[in-house]
């Protein structure tokens, strides 16, 4: 009896040791590249520091106080919110419509599916450059269209009032295919029998979609919304390349603002504060959204 006990104890130790060996590389990597940097960012947020000299000056909450009263940061935050709300309102309905169309058509519409998916194949950098030129005042697509119709050149990206909307349009252009495929996967997870039973009971295709399929898709829609909401708070590449945050602060986002402070003007102390602030805001936001949307079961 005693022997057996010590055997299992030894076995347990063996298991723990083996697990530790297997987990070690990942744990080392995550500690150095994720855990330590997060802590370091919070520590740096209390210093005045240009990032190059070894000299750091402790300034307490001065950076945080500056952040709370920094009009540009809050402008960037509200731009993030605008991006979030508008991309949700545009991406979700169009994504569902396209998926419904593809689901109804089956293999016949493979051509549409392939072409509609194309924007997803481009990196955010490439999309940013493409539209920087496609929306250019001289020789851009919209300008040329407007000229063709007898109008004048249109400067979407150079105008403070339209720049953010143009950027949001491009974000939607790139991400709608993602949600389309996501919903399509949701549709195809509905068993064939459900459709057949509905048709036998005399439902039309549109009745099947609105009364049976969409209610069954609610969990998919919910997680797509979470993905879109949280993703919107982190945008960087595309916007940085298309507009660099300008004109003025009209397309500045939290991430571009953080980048500029840290790596363009080398104010790394304050840059850390912005990054830490972003981290806090995103974490709170993610927790609230998950609770609200998941809570409904």
């Amino acid at each position: 009896m005693n022997k057996k006990n010590s055997m299992t104890a030894k076995n347990k130790k063996d298991i723990a040791l083996c697990a530790f060996v297997f987990l070690l590389p990942v744990l080392i990597l995550l500690t150095t590249y994720l855990l330590y940097p997060i802590i370091a960012t919070f520590v740096n947020s209390f210093f005045q520091w240009n990032g190059i000299s070894a000299e750091k000056k402790f300034i307490g909450f001065a950076n945080w106080n500056k952040l709370l009263h920094d009009k540009d940061f809050w402008a960037a935050f509200f731009n993030n919110i605008k991006v979030m709300v508008l991309s949700l309102l545009v991406q979700m309905p169009i994504g569902i419509l396209l998926a419904t169309f593809l689901d109804a058509g089956g293999r016949k519409f493979n051509f549409f599916k392939v072409i509609w998916f194309l924007p997803m194949l481009m990196s955010a950098v490439a999309v940013g450059y493409l539209f920087r030129y496609a929306l250019a005042t001289n020789g851009g697509l919209i300008s040329s269209l407007s000229e063709l119709l007898g109008g004048k050149n249109v400067d979407l990206l150079g105008n403070q009032k339209t720049a953010l909307f143009a950027v949001i349009g491009v974000i939607c252009w790139q991400f709608i295919p993602f949600y389309m495929v996501y919903y399509l996967a949701g549709y195809s997870s509905i068993p064939e029998d459900v459709y057949e039973a509905a048709i036998i009971d005399g439902a039309t295709r549109s009745q099947y979609v609105t009364r049976i399929a969409l209610p069954l898709l609610v969990p998919t829609i919910r997680s797509a919304i979470i993905l879109s909401l949280i993703g919107s708070l982190k945008y960087f590449d595309l916007v940085y390349i298309m507009t660099g945050g300008g004109p003025g602060t009209s397309t500045e986002l939290m991430a571009t603002y953080m980048y500029k402070n840290s790596f363009v003007t080398f104010n790394m102390g304050y840059g850390s504060t912005i990054a830490a602030g972003m981290f806090i805001l995103i974490t709170i936001f993610a927790a609230v959204v998950m609770r609200l949307l998941r809570g409904k079961g």
Binding site: V26, I38, F112, A124
Partner: protein, 286 residues
């Protein structure tokens, strides 16, 4: 009689509905496709053509010089080689260590299992920007700044949490009996991982390879902050440098863009469903 009219009405309604759906589908097709067409065709234009004649004017001649210039540019191939090196090395390391970590999390019971798993899941939602300044400092400290080796650990580290998460789910689905059989045959825990679990995880690993491969290939922000000189930069930064060099030469930049998108499009043509599935792998995050 009445029945028949109803039927005809229904039929007409359905035709109209399809016509509307088709029209919308074609509009969306145009919205998606025209920017691509603009990109490829503009690449065939001469320097000032777009500005002089607008975007809808077809190229005067099929001026392929831009494409030739990009392909014969030595720098382009340096960027390309760097991207391939970073991609291959990061991917091999990433898949191996993620599988290693997923194995005990899926199969063993030990005290710290739940806290470690939770930590990894939580790490998935960390915005990478919060790590940038310390990672920048660390990279300089390690003497890796402005080398392509700076990009390997970042590519691996930020892709690890989601990869481990997906692989744990995948390994949970591998029947325990297979491992028990190997156990009886005298396979130890380490051998079971290499001989049973790792080979059986191949489908999960290949999906992850596509998902992470696309992300690493397109990675911009760390490549942008951790490297500086042309010979150590990756393909996404080729665009950045070309833009600095040829800012007013729209056709040249569009040619470079088209060529940078080409590998993905070829991959997409070869393995459509698999690529879509792979690119959607990260969607489980929600």
């Amino acid at each position: 009689m009445k029945q028949e009219i109803n039927y005809e009405n229904e039929q007409r309604k359905r035709t109209v509905a399809w016509a509307v759906a088709m029209a919308l589908a074609i509009i969306w097709f145009l919205i998606t496709f025209i920017p691509f067409l603009f990109m490829v065709l503009t690449g065939f234009k001469q320097k000032l053509e777009t500005i002089l004649y607008g975007a809808f004017h077809l190229p005067e001649t099929l001026y392929a010089q831009n494409y030739v210039d990009v392909i014969t540019d030595k720098n382009f191939w340096v960027y390309f080689r760097n991207s391939v090196v970073v991609l291959v090395i990061s991917l091999v390391i990433l898949l191996f260590i993620s599988a290693c970590a997923a194995y005990p999390l899926s199969r063993f019971r030990f005290k710290l299992r739940d806290p470690i798993y939770l930590l990894i899941v939580a790490a998935m939602s960390v915005p990478i920007h919060v790590t940038m300044i310390p990672v920048f400092q660390m990279t300089i400290g390690m003497g890796l700044y402005d080398t392509i080796w700076a990009l390997v650990p970042t590519s691996v580290a930020f892709a690890t949490p989601i990869s481990v998460f997906i692989l744990v789910g995948f390994m949970d689905g591998i029947p325990k009996e297979l491992e028990e059989a190997a156990d009886i045959d005298g396979c130890g825990r380490y051998a079971r991982f290499f001989r049973v679990i790792l080979p059986l995880s191949a489908p999960g690993l290949s999906t992850l390879a596509i998902y992470n491969g696309v992300n690493i290939w397109n990675e911009f922000i760390f490549a942008f902050t951790l490297t500086q000189s042309n010979e150590n930069r990756t393909l996404p930064l080729a665009l950045w440098n070309y833009q600095g060099q040829y800012a007013v030469n729209t056709p040249m930049i569009m040619a470079c863009l088209s060529l940078s998108v080409l590998p993905m499009i070829i991959l997409f043509i070869i393995m459509q469903e698999k690529l879509i599935k792979g690119m959607m792998a990260g969607a489980v995050k929600g």
